[in-house]
Assembly symmetry: C2
Homo-oligomer: 419 residues x 2
């Protein structure tokens, strides 16, 4: 189990110029998205770079919910710039794009599919050395500053997939909670749901000692190893913070305590799932995002339709945990209790229903769209959603309960309407 | 905040030969102590090295509670062997010795004092590259497999000190709880007390944002950064495990669940204190160990007198936390509650007394020697004990409450008798 370097504190972003000097960086690539390029987090970084005289070029063309095309555009920029260090300022979209740019610029002879997860890509192990990458997360969601994962939407196949390798994990994550203050309500909510699902899925994932095949050589083990006593600590801790602070962080942009705690929870849950893995909510979310029709979420300052990642994972969560609870009912009940359920008279065999109910109430309270139907899907889409889930076996096989295609259909169907 | 790689599981030691092959190691240095060289943990490593045909030399001359002389002896062996990887199988004594051997063999022109903590040594930053070191802890105590610290007894000065640098942190820690099964009772107890104090001290250490001076350049920040929201997670989690399992682990060598949990708690607390730091119990323990007279603890299969590290830290803990509670009484009360105190009617201003009392009961239940007097010290030794604490400012300055020499005298005096 490997864990990234993290620096935490209000205002610590101002040191980033010094960090880059310490790294001996002479040509820095600063990545962000168009919206963020006008906002305080990018400003804070620019000020520090100026103060320490760091030479840099800025790429602000990151696509929110990146695609193969948008990754390739960033990679082209990175190859041309011959950078010796990278800084990503943004949410998962920016950090993931920057990881990919660093990887392919450091491995210029590689084909794009080489490092993409099998069976969609070739899933080759990364053996080239990468440049240092400092990630400055501005959402409280993906925990991408702590993981070796970069996710994108493979347009041709209409499915999200990614690159997963310890090699692309950022060198340093700078968690400066001041950056969360500019997030509008729905971005706090959706990125917070991502934290919620990372915690719930990694805590309920197949235990590390039941995963098969278990490659006998440790070097071949996947980054996602199944739930284990160390990732459990992170998952539970993140879940407790979500239970205590997510609603406050969403409702009150001035609630610094709540926003700062969610910012840390995002990293904690990232460390948890980055080692244990996620399972069905994430596996099923990739086609939900990839097949998006015309949905345009509130508060996202972008011109294309998209299903925000956190929303795409949380909408199936009641159905998923009702389904998986059979296997570790105590853990499901414990999660429900942390999220506020009164379980004093609960029967263990109802654990799944109780957790599902708790989640539905949680989402209802936060005005979340009423299921997949509300974001544009109907029963007729289910076969395509199932088909898009099948290649996600890297995560779906970490579900504690194995699933057939019929099971997946039923889970999508049960997620059409929530309330 | 940086955290090591850890692999956890019963029997995972059998993979170590493969790990060394993966590292391309051709000349491995295996370090342990004389006692352990006859016991199952070393056996398991030897079997794996043989199975994978790993070429190695064994050094089993590690001193339990190492000294400058014993470090130098191991360093000599390492320099001569021209090793390309190290394996340490043992408790903190072995792992720390191996860290020092790797460091000085990788930096052959350095003087021994160069890397020793200031003000005793020169405290130079490590800039040379080290060889990979795999640590296989066999006690449930120091967490040395996760830290960049190596402690030794500086005989000339009669005081313990150490080397602290991220560079000497092991590449991988293999936590195989099977290794804890051979530990005799007092070794479980004393190493467990070390975990207890790491957790309590790092949880109550000066907060990271109140430490001064705070070097403006991040590269110059010490490894010990003060308590912070991330180390708090580890410290509290470790403390909960100690509360639940330490007594069981001590009393029943067959209680695998308890011993395995303590083995993990040791690493958790190590990650916590390795980033946050420890304070007075540890600062005062160094002269308690260094000035040892004739004390020979039960169950330690060695021929010199010594005060085991865990015992040397825990004996002052009631006095220390009664003293520090003024500053963060809620944290002290919370710790007392985790350790079993009923705090429903407690007053916050009694937090220190309550935690001290809880600790005394805890130690009494476990037949711990009745204070410093029971291990050979008297009032007449207090000036020397205080004098030996003064150079430990690297840790003592992390105490939430500053101390004068008189305060230190009073703390030693209060620790002469516990019950
Ligand atoms: N790498 C991983 O480990 C990992 C894990 C989960 C999800 N992801 C991926 O990350 C992406 C989602 O990332 P995300 O949820 O962080 O959001 P995002 O990066 O997609 O950003 C969403 C929107 O929020 C805006 N925004 C971000 N920070 C802001 C701030 N502080 N103030 C105002 N606006 C702000 C952005 O400009 C953007 O419009 C998806 O592609 C998802 O698949 C990656
Ligand atoms: N590096 C760090 O972060 C750190 C932290 C705390 C303490 N320390 C240092 O570590 C040393 C103490 O280490 P420790 O408490 O782990 O004990 P230790 O290494 O000194 O070993 C104590 C005794 O236990 C025996 N032993 C160890 N494992 C055994 C097993 N599985 N079965 C039977 N016998 C076993 C040893 O042979 C030895 O006789 C001290 O020098 C202390 O200052 C280092
Ligand atoms: Fe996610
Ligand atoms: Fe210790």
């Amino acid at each position: 189990m490997a864990i990234s370097n993290i620096r935490y504190g209000e205002g610590v972003t101002k040191e980033i110029g010094m960090d880059l000097q310490n790294l001996g960086a002479r040509r820095v690539c600063l990545m962000t998205d168009k919206n963020l390029s006008q906002l305080p987090p990018v400003n804070a970084v620019l000020n520090s770079l100026a103060k320490y005289g760091v030479n840099f070029q800025m790429y602000d063309n990151v696509r929110v919910e990146p695609t193969d095309q948008s990754f390739l555009d960033a990679i082209k920029f990175a190859k041309k710039g011959e950078f010796d260090a990278y800084v990503a300022v943004g949410g998962g979209s920016v950090i993931d794009t920057c990881k990919a740019a660093n990887l392919y610029a450091s491995s210029p002879a590689s084909d794009f599919l080489d490092y993409v997860n099998a069976p969609i890509g070739k899933g080759k192990p990364v053996t080239v050395p990468l440049k240092p990458l400092i990630a400055v997360p501005t959402t409280a969601g993906t925990g991408s500053e702590t993981t070796g994962v970069a996710i994108f939407d493979f347009k041709e196949l209409k499915v999200k997939t990614g690159i997963a390798s310890r090699a692309i994990k950022p060198t340093l994550g700078i968690i400066d909670p001041l950056h969360t203050l500019s997030m509008p309500e729905r971005i706090v909510a959706n990125s917070g749901f991502d934290v919620l699902c990372h915690a719930l899925e990694s805590y309920t994932a197949l235990p590390y000692n039941m995963r098969s095949p278990c490659p006998s050589n440790p070097i071949n083990r996947p980054a996602y190893q199944g739930s284990n006593p160390i990732s459990d600590v992170w998952a539970l801790h993140a879940l407790r913070i979500v239970a205590k602070y997510l609603k406050r962080a969403i409702r009150n942009p001035e609630d610094r305590e709540a926003r700062a705690n969610m910012h840390l929870a995002s990293a904690f849950a990232g460390i948890g799932f980055g080692n244990a893995g996620v399972h069905l909510c994430h596996g099923m979310s990739y086609p939900i995002s990839g097949l998006v029709k015309t949905y345009k979420p509130k508060d996202y300052n972008v011109d294309h339709s998209l299903v925000p990642h956190g929303l795409s994972v949380v909408l199936t969560s009641p159905a998923v945990f009702a389904f998986t609870a059979q296997i570790h009912p105590e853990r499901h009940l414990e999660a429900a209790e942390i999220l506020g359920a009164d379980i004093r008279t609960a029967r263990i065999k109802d654990a799944g229903f109780i957790l599902a109910d708790t989640l539905r109430k949680f989402l209802f309270d936060l005005n979340v769209d009423d299921g997949l139907a509300a974001i544009g899907y109907s029963k007729a889409d289910i076969p395509a959603l199932v088909k898009g889930t099948l290649p996600q076996e890297r995560v779906t096989k970490l579900s504690p309960r194995p699933q057939t295609e019929d099971d997946l259909s039923a889970l999508f169907e049960a997620s059409m309407k929530l309330y």
